[in-house]
Amino acid sequence: MNKWQTFTKGLIKENPTFVLLLGMCPTLGTTTSAINGMGMGVATLFVLTMSNIVISLIKNYIPGKVRIPAFIVVIASMVTVLQLCMQAYVPALYETLGVFIPLIVVNCIILGRAEAFASKNGVFSSALDGLGIGCGFTLSLTVLGTVREMLGNGSIFGYKFIAGDGILLFVLAPGAFIALGYLLVIFNKLTAKMK
């Protein structure tokens, strides 16, 4: 696999949301609008890339049996760094995303990539892998956020295109499940055709 593929596989072929079905909690919880979805995606992208880099750097010094706890410490530190920086420089976004920022720690995507990729590959590939999967995650969260915001509020990235309200259900909890369900159906249909 060349470097380019390491990066692009995360976008479609191994898209964390639509194919691997990982990290569902932030996917559903934070996508009430396109901008929130994107914010969460970028936050995850940051943690994923950084933890992939660090883990691939220290992988040779960690005894096999304490691998997982060591990874968790690395990931949790990255998340805390992110938490502090967001509080300092983008407080509004930090408040909107709320409890889901600390919960990036338990996002299975990150531990999954650490275990499956970063612990076996070099620094550069691991960084690319993190970036790729992170972009895929950001992409799908932004798409889901846009769909929900369009249907639920009649706006895209905050710009209203209809007067009045949309189908409010889509900004509420049930709408998250239903929107993602139908997006998956569409995704499955499209990928089935490509094969």
Partner: protein, 190 residues
Amino acid sequence: MEYFVIIISAIFVNNIVLAQFLGICPFLGVSNKVSTSLGMGAAVTFVMAITSVVAYLLQYYVLVPLGIQYMQTIVFILVIAALVQMVEIILKKVSPSLYQALGVFLPLITTNCAVLGIAILLVQKSYNLGESVVFSVATAIGFSLALVLFAGIRERLELEDLPKAMKGVPIALITAGILAMAFMGFSGLV
């Protein structure tokens, strides 16, 4: 009265899975059979109750006095991971039958964001010790309720004739959406 409000709101109104979107992974993953979902629910209840006490004590007797609240995330996740391991070892020794029933679910709980979520939420809501325990047990019951209900529906869905693209997770999500809609009926209850 206060406790009653916390219980009702945690189980029905702000159901952790269907309204707060925490613990979705086990919700989608372990909900194929009613019996396994009951086991998972019991294991989560058990771990959450212990976590809430430990998280409370850590937050107010270690992190706050030392002024290192920013270490919250890292401390909580490590404690939960260690706790789950400990529960597993103790159960194995003390009650092998309970271990048989819950054992397989325990390792999965470490990465269940509902558990870490609850620890963070009860600090955010500044509950006292009693309220924390009640809140976390009620939340876990809400989790189990959603899980069992959903498993019941999915057992039947298995037999349905669905379009190929909808099979599996997509239809499960749409079903969960309808279930969440039903739970919205509880809003305004408290």
